[in-house]
């Protein structure tokens, strides 16, 4: 593990640990909901990438904005969302963050600055850049973080908005979660050259960091966020990480593109939660028992939220033509 940011204290570390455990617990429950056919549609698991979302979001204020991806539950939790409204959204219930209209791939939590997951790969890069534009235009010191995967680096929109962000020194951080796979294809098969060089071509300062090391991610993010607030942005980070599941929960027979041994190696040797847990006990921040208690409490919270969501009401049919327009209560009336 990297040296931590000097200003962090035990409370911060335990909150980061809890947030990582919460993401894992959320995804384990979501996966079970899919496997037991209780969830409509399908979803994309963030498990294995927890240190990325938590390391970055712990460097942000609630007023800072993020944009997320189809693999977005981790970002949503890390930016402050609650389990209950998240599970309700995944199950299409009225009490979900989006009243059941978005689902897993569009979950948004405006109250915590999450402008939403996006089901178009790379589709939110303009939105994050625009959030940074707003901050600059209105004289706020907010920062925007754009989460996207290695697969999204193949989209042209990214280069258009990075060009503008660099020209105008916008306070945006492009956070590329390189989990090694672009859907069902290895990243080296879709990405020519080095991903970092693409940002550097625009004069954007770019860093690569171990995405399994929450302290390394957090230290880098904290420094870049602070600099972006001072007008030194934009920045680009490539976070080397791994997704434990397939492209989505239904991508189970994936031996044709990824070896099981590779998955086992990452889960046993490179797991971000286990690595951080070791560090916390070694440094005397918490005992094994204390960390176990956090895990148990989070698991119970997740189970309770799932039970609640399963029983919660679906939206009334009258909702179907609501929220098409802000000023027309029912678009088809």
């Amino acid at each position: 593990m990297a040296d931590p940011t000097p200003t962090r204290n035990a409370e911060d570390y335990l909150r980061m640990y809890r947030q990582m455990v919460r993401i894992r617990a959320f995804e384990d429950q979501a996966n079970q909901l899919y496997l037991s056919a209780k969830m409509p549609g399908l979803t994309h698991m963030y498990s294995g990438e927890e240190a990325v979302a938590v390391g970055i979001c712990e460097a942000l204020e609630v007023t800072d904005r993020i944009t997320s991806t189809h693999r977005g539950h981790g970002h949503c939790v890390a930016k402050g969302a609650e389990f209950q409204a998240m599970f309700c959204e995944l199950l299409g219930k009225q009490e979900g963050y989006c009243r059941g209209k978005g689902g897993s791939m569009h979950i948004a939590d405006q109250s915590n600055g999450n402008l939403g997951a996006n089901a178009i790969v790379g589709g939110s890069m303009g939105i994050a850049t625009g959030a940074a534009f707003t901050a600059r235009m209105l004289g706020r010191d907010d920062v925007a973080v754009c989460f996207f995967g290695d697969g999204a680096t193949a989209q042209g929109l990214m280069y258009e908005v990075m060009n503008m962000a660099a020209l105008w020194s916008l306070p945006v951080i492009y956070a590329c979660e390189n989990n090694g796979y672009s859907e069902y294809t290895r990243t080296e098969e879709i990405a020519a050259g080095q991903i970092l060089d693409r940002a550097r071509a625009f004069g954007i300062e770019a860093h690569r960091v171990d995405g399994q090391d929450v302290l390394a991610v957090n230290a880098l993010a904290a420094s870049l966020v602070q600099r972006a607030r001072r007008g030194e942005g934009p920045f680009f980070i490539e976070l080397m990480t791994y997704r434990y599941h397939g492209h989505h929960v239904g991508d189970i027979n994936r031996d044709y593109y990824r070896a099981r041994d590779e998955e086992t190696l990452w889960k046993t040797e490179r797991d971000p939660i286990l690595l951080f847990r070791d560090w916390l006990t070694r440094e005397g921040v918490a005992t094994e028992d204390e960390l176990e208690a956090v895990q148990d409490e989070v698991s119970r919270d997740a189970e309770a939220a799932v039970r609640y969501a399963l029983e919660a009401a679906y939206p009334d049919p009258s909702e179907v033509d609501m929220h098409v327009y802000t000023d027309i209560p029912h678009a088809l009336a």
Binding site: A108, N118, G126, T129, G130, L138, L157, V161, D327
Partner: protein, 331 residues
Amino acid sequence: MRQITLAKAVNEAIAEEMRRDPSVFVIGEDVAEAGTPFKVLSGLVEEFGTGRVVDTPISEPGFMGLAVGAAMTGTRPVVDLMFGDFLFLVMDQLCNQAAKAHYMSGGKISVPLVLRTNLGATRRSAAQHSQSLHALVAHVPGLKVALPSSAYEAKGLMKTAIRDDNPVVIFEDKLMYQDKAEVPEEEYLIPFGVANVLREGGDVTLIGTSSMVQVCLAAADLLAADGISAEVIDPRTLVPLDEATLIASARKTGRAIVVDEGHQSYGVTAELAARIAEKAFYHLDAPVLRMGAMDVPVPFSPALEDLTVPTPAAVAEAAARICRGELVHAA
């Protein structure tokens, strides 16, 4: 009353709204010093500065996407898309992102942006600078679509569009920028979803959009000479649509022709004709006719291009034939 051009009317509308609301800004290619190729925005950068009249690289999807994010977070962008044909470049950001964000978030996120662009053929600009693509965006729930038909309309509709909390696409006819109309000095807005009956008549209803309003008015003059009384209606906005005014007129006259510069097939004319056919059927004395642009890419040669758009003579002839009880098949 003073007369000003459509270009000046749009310029005034945007300038007034920028003075009124500091969160309004203009973004697009060559909008600042150049004032756009049609010089519609000349003078804005001198008054509001480059921070609010923002020149971008030639990156339509990029600045469209940036505007969506800006609109979500507290500003009101007026996006300048130099030609309506470039809509195809921004479709993901406009239709997958801007149009759906409010619905997908259960009403928590809104995208108050205006995309101003243009339509219209016969400028000898060929197939990639002449299209009228408003039907494409009117098809997507979540977008509002306005089609000003004069300088007066352009100013009032633009001011309403900028104050609207939804994404609005407003199409100006690029051949009408220098056309003058009476525009009052004092402020006014034109509400969305209220059609304008420009001329009352009893024999046939001519529904025209954008520049086709002028075509319908000219056709009505031709028809009057033949003793046929045509009612001319401008829907002003396709979304929301003032269906009631169109239906009421068709019920009154018993005949209707819808004229629009988009391609005829699967277009605006088809949608409006279908609504009239469904809701005024028992009052109709003739099939509702569609007159759109010819279903071909817009050709360059003037000899060919002029054949592709509806003309006053063609509209008047079709109207006269249905008024005589002749069976008319739309082209």
